[in-house]
């Protein structure tokens, strides 16, 4: 995966989180925890999973969602799902 392709995944993920959680983009660091730092609950996690599936045309299994704890986890998770396809 090229650095440019990785950057654009990060952009899409961050845009998506900003849209879903109504937070500022500058709050999103790799270690930012969705629930503890951004006040998300598991319904938000389900919605974010749905938007990721739509944006990247991937299928995210149920057991992957509890692992989406930080912004970095999500970016990593998306990369893994894209590589697996």
């Amino acid at each position: 995966m090229t650095r440019q392709a990785v950057d654009s995944i990060e952009d899409v993920v961050k845009n998506l989180i900003v849209a879903e959680l109504r937070v500022d983009r500058n709050q999103l660091m790799p270690a930012t925890h969705l629930m503890k730092d951004l006040g998300a609950d598991s319904l938000d996690a389900l919605n974010i999973a749905l938007r990721l599936e739509e944006a990247f045309k991937i299928k995210i299994p149920d057991d992957a969602i509890p692992k989406f704890l930080t912004v970095g986890d999500i970016i990593k998770g998306v990369n893994e799902h894209l590589s697996a396809q």
């Binding site: 609950d41 598991s42 319904l43 389900l46 919605n47 749905l50 149920d62 969602i65």
Partner: protein, 414 residues
């Protein structure tokens, strides 16, 4: 305060139509969960549901009548006909301002809404209708019951998600108890097994995906449970002031004695054992009994990870160590979760358990879960021996939004 009896029962469920057929299926531990064939499910993770395939609308309506009624109303009216017929009430006894209707529904005329929205959004393709609104409005079922059976009293529709049917019965019970009605037709109906609703549930990831075999998918209280199975159905009871029921020699299935209704005030979907326990306490208080007098609990038991755990905790908070001695079942294991109808169908099952002294099982229990360690009647239907009587029982319904409703019913002995 008047005492209130259950004198008529009508049922449309995935395991059959009518009290006898349904009870015989439940007592035998038979499941009505099937592969959905009514529409394309290829984009869904779940392709099973509880569908009422034994329900034949043309047995109850002609085609012109059917065209004016959403499926939910068809089921509600048909079940009401069964209940009033069983109660031995002719139209003359229903045609009164002292006889009303309270129905519960979660999705109302959903099929009709989808038909009209489909026509609207496809720019003229699909069927529009002047009847779109009268068919799909949430009070269509209760109003159509009044029209058909001439009940002129209070006519209301309660919508509290999964506890709608139970809240409807509870409210109807109180109307009679406090002298605002003599008889009430009460219960719930829902026909939510539609393409749009199944898709919407998919995105919440709360439905079981154990599609094969369908009848084994719903596993309440089992450690390997993975969600509920959506279903449709209707459960209707005739509630009647006890003195009137006795006076006309009606068959009395049981007496409804308590109703507790609370809001968790916590989360829009996640249950809170505190709100649930309080609904149970309030139902007991309303019944004027103690926790020690409950002989059986018909659980909400949806087979989601969260409900079954939260409900078990709530039961323990109220009943303490005695919780382990109370036989508890979930008939959703067999008929799925029919949303607004569930609380009513389960109230009926609780009533019939008292009437028959048989408690239907919780099927599909496979693995013990340390957080759900009560007696869930997993070995098959339990026949109560003549030594210990099943006298007083409770039915729980805990809905999205934290809407909790608990009903208490007791054997009538005079």
């Amino acid at each position: 305060m008047r005492r209130v009896a259950v004198t008529g029962i009508g049922l449309i469920t995935p395991v059959g139509c009518g009290r006898e057929a349904v009870w015989s299926a439940l007592a035998a531990g038979r499941s009505g969960i099937v592969r959905i064939e009514e529409f394309d499910t290829s984009s869904l993770r779940t392709n099973i549901a509880g569908v009422c395939r034994d329900f034949r609308p043309l047995d109850f309506f002609d085609e012109r009548e059917m065209a004016r009624l959403d499926r939910v109303s068809q089921m509600a009216i048909a079940a009401t006909g069964m209940a009033t017929r069983e109660a031995g009430l002719a139209n003359g006894q229903l045609d009164s301002y002292d006889v009303g209707v309270i129905l519960g529904t979660g999705f109302g005329g959903q099929g009709s809404i989808e038909e009209y929205c489909g026509a609207f959004f496809s720019n003229g393709k699909g069927r529009r209708s002047a009847l779109a609104i009268p068919k799909s409005m949430y009070n269509a079922s209760s109003s159509n019951i009044a029209i058909r059976f001439k009940t002129r009293g209070p006519n209301l529709t309660v919508t509290t998600a999964c506890s709608s049917g139970a809240n409807a019965i509870g409210q109807a019970f109180h109307l009679i108890r406090y002298g605002h009605a003599d008889r009430m037709i009460a219960g719930g109906a829902d026909a939510p097994v539609t393409p749009v609703v199944m898709d919407a549930w998919k995105d919440m990831r709360v439905l079981s995906t154990k599609n094969d075999p369908p009848e084994r998918a719903c596993k309440p209280f089992s450690a390997n449970r993975d969600g509920f199975v959506l279903a449709e159905g209707a459960g209707i009871v005739v509630l009647e002031a006890l003195d009137l029921a006795v006076e006309r020699g009606a068959r009395i299935y049981a007496e409804i004695i308590g109703y507790g209704s609370t809001a968790d005030a916590s989360h829009i979907t996640f249950p809170d054992p505190d709100g649930e326990a309080n609904a149970i306490w309030r139902a007991l208080k309303d019944a004027g009994i103690t926790a020690a007098e409950i002989d059986h609990i018909n659980a909400h038991g949806t087979a989601t990870k969260l409900n079954d755990q939260s409900e078990t905790e709530a039961i323990k908070r109220v009943f303490g160590s005695r919780a382990h001695e109370i036989p508890i079942n979930s008939i959703k294991s067999m008929i799925g979760h029919s949303m607004g109808a569930a609380g009513a169908i389960e109230f009926i099952a609780t009533t019939l358990a008292i009437d028959s002294q048989i408690i239907p099982p919780t099927i599909n229990y496979e693995e013990a879960d340390p957080q759900c360690d009560l007696d869930y009647i997993t070995e098959g239907a339990r026949r109560i021996s003549s030594n210990s009587r099943l006298r007083t029982a409770m039915s729980n319904s805990f809905g999205f939004g934290g809407n909790n409703a608990v009903l208490v019913v007791r054997a009538y002995q005079g």
